[in-house]
């Protein structure tokens, strides 16, 4: 997958220890399969984003990882241990190795912030003084030390999720599951929560698996992304390379909101066969996108193109470029030459059509 772009040194090395391994996991509710043969690995220290539309099976998937939901078949290994078929009682000690945060925070309203954060430690059997000490450390980590004695109802959504994160980290888990943790938050709060998660991932080396329906979330924090549709993983890879060259139609649709698209009024009037200008899309990513492409093109072939739309995004420190250009098409050889030049520079070029209306 994503063979056009060459992969740079990956964030998590391939031989890194696996925290989660799923093999052909299936789960159906009545006649509808929620998970239809999912195989997936999460490596130690990475942030894996699983994205899909609602109903794609991502919630079921994440809930299978800590046994809140049981798989019908397949194997789920957590830190090398097969958890499929374990009883509720056997799952309990294992769940203490896995923290979880939720879309609606799920804080206990009858407990103060510090009691909420300390609850996993109470379950673990720690003494009260120790629990509160650890809770204070965690509240400091998430920047809410002054709210220790407050009740969750007095907090904003972002603060509630910070408490949720502190609580999920209390028992020093090996894995953090994030179930749409930012979906109920406004964009600014979302950014601050994602920055917190990224910071925790880097500071503590914590492995994070997050599910979301927002590409923006994956874009800003994930190292790798897996796209789930109708209970199957349809695409998987480094975030920047999937963004640069999405293969599955569902990935392209999910990305359409955040990748540059040819403006509607132009795409509407394109003719598939002929016109004054040929409209091309250019996709480049990674090292290939770092050169002075357009300067070189105009030097090699003067007057050969006009920029229509596009831009360069930076994902995981990799440039991901997508441009639309218009090439004069009266002389049929010019578009040919432009395409040859671009392809030689490592770009993916697609002819979208011809624009007749432009003078």
């Amino acid at each position: 997958m994503n063979s056009v772009v060459s992969a740079p040194a990956s964030v998590a090395t391939p031989q890194a220890e696996e925290v989660v391994r799923l093999t052909d996991v299936k789960r159906r509710f009545g006649a509808t399969p929620a998970l239809d043969g999912v195989s997936l690995t999460v490596r130690k220290g990475e942030i894996l984003g699983i994205i899909g539309r609602s109903g794609a099976g991502k919630s079921t998937l994440i809930r299978c990882l800590n046994g809140l939901e049981q798989a019908d078949s397949g194997e789920i290994h957590i830190e090398g241990r097969n958890i499929t078929g374990l009883t509720e009682k056997d799952l309990q000690p294992l769940r203490r190795r896995i923290g979880m945060i939720f879309q609606h925070f799920n804080l206990l309203s009858a407990k103060t912030v510090e009691e909420n954060v300390a609850l996993p430690l109470k379950i673990e059997g720690l003494g009260k003084a120790e629990r509160l000490k650890r809770a204070a450390e965690l509240l400091d980590l998430v920047g809410l030390s002054d709210k220790a004695k407050a009740y969750p109802s007095s907090l904003s959504g972002g603060q509630k999720q910070r408490v949720g994160i502190a609580r999920a980290l209390a028992a020093r888990p090996a894995l953090l599951l994030s179930d749409e943790a930012t979906s109920a938050l406004d964009p600014e709060t979302t950014r601050s929560i994602l920055a917190l998660l990224k910071g925790i991932n880097q500071k503590l080396g914590l492995t994070i698996l997050l599910i979301t329906h927002e590409m923006e979330v994956v874009r800003s924090v994930a190292d790798r992304v897996a796209v789930i549709d109708a209970g199957r993983i349809v695409e998987e890879g480094q975030v920047w390379s999937v963004f640069a060259d999405p293969q599955a139609p569902i990935t392209q649709r999910l990305l359409s909101g955040i990748r540059p698209q040819l403006p509607e009024h132009i795409s509407a009037r394109l003719s598939p066969v002929s016109g004054d200008e040929q409209i091309l899309s250019i996709d480049m990513a990674g090292p290939a996108a770092q050169g002075a492409l357009f300067a070189d093109l105009s030097q090699a072939l003067p007057q050969s193109f006009r920029l229509v739309h596009g831009g360069i995004d930076h994902i995981q420190d990799q440039p991901v470029a997508r441009f639309f250009i218009a090439v004069p098409a009266r002389d049929a050889s010019l578009p040919e030459k432009v395409q040859t030049f671009l392809k030689a520079r490592g770009a993916r070029v697609e002819v979208l059509g011809y624009d007749a209306n432009h003078a």
Partner: protein
């Protein structure tokens, strides 16, 4: 009102408080676990058991459908077994408690069922077992409703205890019937009604205050 009547009024008030309080506490101690059992064994509950759930439900419904005055008489053998006599204030506590327990269990059940499932998931995800869920989630989260429901139960018991006069239990209701109604002593009737209003308002006020203190939603 004569000093003797006043003394009678005070004694009746005490009998009402005793009957209401004792049967109320029993219904709380027995009804809350019963309510928990109804929620836990229900479909999707933390100890799902449809068979046990329907049995418990049927028992609760059975007791709740019998009019209290009938229960009062029908339970006489049980009362005699427990208290040693079928007459008097203490004897009335048995049928009152038996009637109030399923009543309160249903009220508690409603509050417990309304606890957000997400909270149960969160504690399960932490590795909590059923007892943790009951202790840390279900009961504390439903506490305002549990207390409000207990207030309602107590007020209902004040009313029901009036019927206990039928088995010589005394109490304010009995006083109102025997003196206010049968002997046409309107002053007694009015005094009893006023005392009952104050008693019920007091219970409600205390309950509301406690709920306000417990509710952090």
């Amino acid at each position: 009102m004569t000093p003797i009547m006043l003394e009678l009024l005070v004694r009746s008030l005490w009998e009402t408080i005793l009957m209401t309080g004792a049967s109320g506490i029993i219904s709380l101690v027995a009804g809350l676990p019963l309510g928990l059992a109804l929620v836990a064994t229900a479909r999707g509950g933390i100890a799902e058991n449809p068979w046990l759930n329907s049995v418990l439900g049927a028992i609760v419904n059975g007791f709740r459908s019998v009019p209290f005055i009938i229960l009062l008489v029908a339970l006489i053998p049980v009362t005699r077994l427990i208290v040693g006599t079928a007459l008097g204030t203490w004897a009335a506590i048995v049928p009152l408690a038996i009637a109030a327990t399923p009543y309160y269990a249903r009220i508690a059940e409603v509050s417990l069922r309304e606890v957000d499932r997400g909270l149960i998931d969160a504690v399960r995800a932490m590795g909590g077992n059923r007892w943790t869920i009951i202790r840390e989630v279900l009961v504390p989260e439903a506490m305002p409703g549990i207390v409000a429901g207990f207030t309602v139960t107590l007020v209902t018991l004040v009313g029901a205890s009036a019927m206990a006069g039928a088995i010589g239990a005394g109490g304010l209701g009995d006083l109102a019937i025997r003196y206010g109604y049968q002997r046409f002593e309107t002053t007694v009737m009015i005094a009893v009604v006023i005392v009952l209003i104050v008693l019920v308002c007091g219970i409600q006020w205390l309950g509301d205050r406690l709920v306000a203190r417990l509710d952090h939603k």
